[in-house]
C-alpha cells in the first residue's frame, strides 16, 4: 500500500507536468529558443538596469503603436526609478482630463497616478493606422503567449527581409519565423541604435529585443520578486513544520502495529 501511495503521488506530478505541457504545445509555428533571463529559477530576480533599458525601448519605439494600460507611472518605482524621476517621466506625457467646471475636457501634463496613455484614441483608429491590424496592449503580453519572454524575443529578432521561396506574402505583411502563420502586420520595429543606452550597453537589435522582453516581463508580473521571496520563506517554513509533524506522527504511532 505504501507503493500505491507513492505511485499516486508520482501520478499527481505526472498529471500536472503532462497536462501543463500538452495543453500548450499547439500551433504550427516553430518554438522560439529558450533564452537565459535574470529572473529564471527559484532565486532569479529582475535586473533593474535591464528593465530601465527596456523601458527606454518601449518609450522610444513601441509606445507609438502599443498601449501599456495596466501600468501607471507610479508603478515605475518597481524598476528602480525614484519619486522625482517618476514625476519627470509622467510630466513628459500629455494626459486628457476633465471635464473642468466649464464642462470641457482638457489636457495636462501627466502625474504619477496616471496610467500610460494609449497611442490611439480607439481600436478603429489603431487598425486604420496599421493596415487593419490592431497592435495589442503589451502589459500582459509575456503571460498571454506560449513561451512568454522567449516568444517576444524570438518575434522581435525573427524577421526575414525576404519571405522564403514560394511563400505567398500578402501586401503590407512581413515575414516572421515565430508569428503563427508567419505573416505579421508589424514591420520590424527594432534596428541597431534604435535608442542610445546611457550605460554603454551595445545598442544592437538583439540587445534591444532582450531588454524590451525583460521590461515586458516586469509589466506582466510586477509581483515576481515579492512572490518568489515570500515563496522561499513559506516553503522553508513548511518543510520544517512538516518534518516536525512527521516526527510527532512517528511518536504517536510508535506503539501501534499498523
Amino acid at each position: 500500500m505504501r507503493k500505491f501511495a507513492l505511485t499516486a503521488i508520482a501520478a499527481a506530478f505526472a498529471v500536472t507536468a503532462f497536462t501543463g505541457g500538452t495543453a500548450k504545445a499547439a500551433g504550427d509555428a516553430p518554438v522560439p529558443a529558450a533564452q537565459d533571463w535574470s529572473w529564471d529559477g527559484i532565486f532569479g530576480t529582475y535586473d533593474r538596469a535591464q528593465l530601465q533599458r527596456g523601458f527606454q525601448v518601449y518609450k522610444a519605439v513601441c509606445a507609438s503603436c502599443h498601449s501599456l494600460r495596466f501600468i501607471a507611472f507610479r508603478n515605475l518605482d518597481g524598476i528602480g526609478f525614484n519619486e522625482d524621476q517618476i514625476k519627470a517621466i509622467a510630466a513628459e506625457y500629455d494626459v486628457e482630463d476633465g471635464p473642468n467646471d466649464d464642462g470641457d475636457m482638457f489636457t495636462r501634463p501627466g502625474k504619477p497616478s496616471d496610467y500610460f496613455p494609449s497611442p490611439f484614441p480607439n481600436e478603429k483608429a489603431a487598425a486604420a493606422s496599421n493596415g487593419g491590424a490592431i497592435p495589442p496592449d503589451l502589459s500582459l503580453m509575456n503571460k498571454a503567449r506560449v513561451g512568454g519572454p522567449d516568444y517576444v524575443f524570438g518575434l522581435l529578432t525573427g524577421y526575414e527581409e525576404e519571405a522564403p521561396e514560394g511563400f505567398d506574402l500578402a501586401d503590407g505583411k512581413h515575414y516572421n519565423h515565430y508569428f503563427p502563420g508567419h505573416q505579421i502586420s508589424m514591420a520590424p520595429p527594432l534596428y541597431d541604435e534604435a535608442v542610445e543606452y546611457t550605460d554603454g550597453t551595445p545598442a544592437t537589435v538583439e540587445q534591444h529585443a532582450r531588454d524590451i522582453s525583460a521590461f515586458l516581463n516586469w509589466t506582466a508580473q510586477p509581483e515576481l520578486e515579492a512572490r518568489k521571496a515570500l515563496g522561499i520563506k513559506v516553503i522553508l517554513f513548511l518543510i520544517v513544520l512538516t518534518a516536525m509533524l512527521y516526527a510527532v506522527k512517528r511518536k504517536i504511532w510508535r506503539d501501534i502495529e499498523h
Binding site: 499527481a12 500536472t16 499547439a26 495596466f70 498571454a144 512572490r227 518568489k228 509533524l245
Partner: protein, 422 residues
C-alpha cells in the same frame, strides 16, 4: 458511543442543550478507524482543506472583483497589481482549483482500487459523485469570471453543447445565456452561481462524512472492522497523520502558487475576451480534458441521432456510469490487492484516463504523440471505448472469472503478517 462526561461547566452547559460538542467528540475524536489505513486515505481530509481554502480565498477575491463584461478582466488585474497580496489570493484560488481536482481524482482512484464503492458504501460513493459534478460546475463557471479569451470561448463552446438536445436545445441555450450569446447576463449569473455552488458542495461534504461515519472507513485489505483490536480512535492517530499529509500537500501546492502560478493555466486567458476573435485552439482546463476527449470522440451518428448529441450523452454517461458500478462490479472481494487480474485492469484504466486527457488537449487531426498515421481522434475513440468497456465489460466479467487471493481473517491479522514479513 455513550456521551462523554464533560468536566468544564461551560462545555457541559452547552452540550446539555445542544450536543454539538459530543457530536464532534464522537466523530472527530473517538471515531473508530481501521488501524491499517495507508496514505491514500489522506486525500479526503485534504479535499476538505482545499474546499475551505477555496471558499476563503474566493470571499476575498469577491471583495475586489467586478462581474461586468467591461470591467471583469480589469478588476482581476487590479487584484493582481493593486490589492495588497491580491496576487497571492488569486494565485491560491486559481491553483487551488487544480489542486482540488488532483486531490479528488486521487481520492476517487483510491476508492476504485480498494472497492470502496461496494456495499455498504454505495450512498457514500454516490454523494462523492455529486460532489464531483458540483465541483465541475463550480470550476467551469469560475473560469468564466476573469473574462479572458478562454473564459469567453470555453463558456460559448460548453453552453452550446446543450443545443444538441432536440426541440428544447436552442431555447434552453438562450435561457442559459440570458440572451442570444454569452454576454453580460451570462457572466452575472455565473458569478452568482459560482458563489453559491461551493456552499452546496459544503453541504454535500457534510452528508458525505455523515454517511462515512455510519458505515466506517474501508481499508487497504477491504476487510471490515471486526474486533476492537482492528481499529484505533481517530484522534490522535489520524489527526496527526492528516496534518502531516497536509504539510506535504501544502509544499506541493505552494510550489505552484509561488514558483509556477500560471503553469497549469492557458496563456490565452490573459487576453481580454473578444467575441469577434476565435482562438485557434479552444482548450478546457486540464481537469476537463478526459471528458472533453470523450465528447469529441463521437463524430458519427447512430440511428439518426446527431454526433453532437451522442457526444454530450457520452460525456455525461462517463460520470453517471460511476453511480452503478457498485452493481457492475461482481467480485466478492473489495480490495484489488487480493485481485490478481483486476489489479492490472485497474492500472490500464488509469493509463486510459491519461491518454484521454492527452487527446483532449490536442487538435483531433494531430498525430497521437507524433506517431505517423495515428490521429488523435482515433486514439480518443479507442480510449473512450475502453473507458466504458472497463465498467461495462471488465468489471462484471473479471469479477466473475478471477480467483481472488485468500483474504486475511481480520485487519489485525494482516497487520501482524505484514509486520512479520517486513
Amino acid at each position: 458511543m455513550s456521551a462523554p462526561q464533560w468536566n468544564n461547566k461551560v462545555v457541559k452547559w452547552v452540550d446539555d442543550r445542544l450536543p454539538v460538542i459530543s457530536m464532534l467528540h464522537h466523530s472527530a475524536y473517538e471515531y473508530p478507524t481501521p488501524k491499517n489505513l495507508s496514505y491514500m486515505w489522506n486525500f479526503g481530509s485534504l479535499a476538505g482543506f482545499v474546499l475551505v481554502t477555496m471558499i476563503l480565498s474566493g470571499i476575498f477575491l469577491v471583495m475586489n472583483y467586478t462581474p461586468h463584461t467591461s470591467m471583469a478582466f480589469e478588476s482581476v488585474e487590479r487584484i493582481m497589481r493593486d490589492v495588497n497580496y491580491g496576487w497571492l489570493i488569486r494565485y491560491i484560488h486559481m491553483n487551488g482549483a487544480s489542486m482540488f481536482f488532483i486531490v479528488v481524482f486521487l481520492h476517487m482512484f483510491r476508492g476504485l482500487y480498494y472497492g470502496s464503492y461496494k456495499a455498504p458504501r454505495e450512498m457514500l460513493w454516490w454523494i462523492g459523485i455529486l460532489i464531483l459534478l458540483a465541483m465541475m460546475a463550480t470550476a467551469f463557471m469560475g473560469y468564466v469570471l476573469p473574462w479572458g479569451q478562454m473564459s469567453f470561448w470555453g463558456a460559448t463552446v460548453i453552453t452550446n453543447l446543450f443545443s444538441a438536445f432536440p426541440i428544447i436545445g436552442d431555447p434552453l441555450v438562450t435561457w442559459l445565456w440570458g440572451g442570444f450569446s454569452v454576454d453580460n447576463p451570462t457572466l452575472n449569473r455565473f458569478f452568482s452561481l459560482h458563489y453559491l455552488m461551493p456552499f452546496i458542495i459544503l453541504g454535500l461534504v457534510v452528508l458525505h462524512v455523515w454517511a462515512l461515519h455510519s458505515v466506517r472507513s474501508n481499508n487497504p485489505t477491504g476487510v471490515e472492522i471486526k474486533t476492537p483490536q482492528d481499529s484505533i480512535p481517530f484522534h490522535p492517530y489520524y489527526t496527526i497523520k492528516d496534518l502531516f499529509g497536509m504539510g506535504v500537500f501544502l509544499i506541493f501546492f505552494c510550489g505552484f502558487v509561488f514558483f509556477a502560478p500560471d503553469y497549469l493555466g492557458h496563456p490565452d486567458n490573459y487576453i481580454p475576451a473578444n467575441p469577434l476573435v476565435t482562438p485557434p485552439h479552444i482548450v478546457p482546463e486540464w481537469y476537463f480534458l478526459p471528458f472533453y476527449a470523450i465528447l469529441r470522440s463521437i463524430d458519427f451518428t447512430i440511428f439518426g441521432i446527431p454526433a453532437k448529441l451522442l457526444g454530450v450523452l457520452a460525456m455525461f454517461a462517463s460520470i453517471v456510469i460511476l453511480f452503478v458500478i457498485p452493481w457492475l462490479d461482481t467480485s466478492k472481494v473489495r480490495s484489488s490487492k487480493f485481485r490478481p487480474v483486476y489489479k492490472w485492469f485497474f492500472w490500464l484504466f488509469v493509463v486510459d484516463t491519461f491518454i484521454l486527457g492527452y487527446c483532449g488537449a490536442k487538435a483531433p487531426d494531430d498525430y497521437f504523440m507524433g506517431v505517423p498515421g495515428l490521429k488523435v481522434i482515433v486514439m480518443g475513440q479507442l480510449s473512450t471505448l475502453y473507458y466504458f468497456a472497463h465498467f461495462l465489460v471488465v468489471m462484471p466479467l473479471v469479477g466473475k472469472m478471477e480467483r481472488p487471493k485468500p483474504l486475511p481473517a481480520s485487519i489485525s491479522e494482516s497487520v501482524l503478517k505484514e509486520g512479520a514479513n517486513a
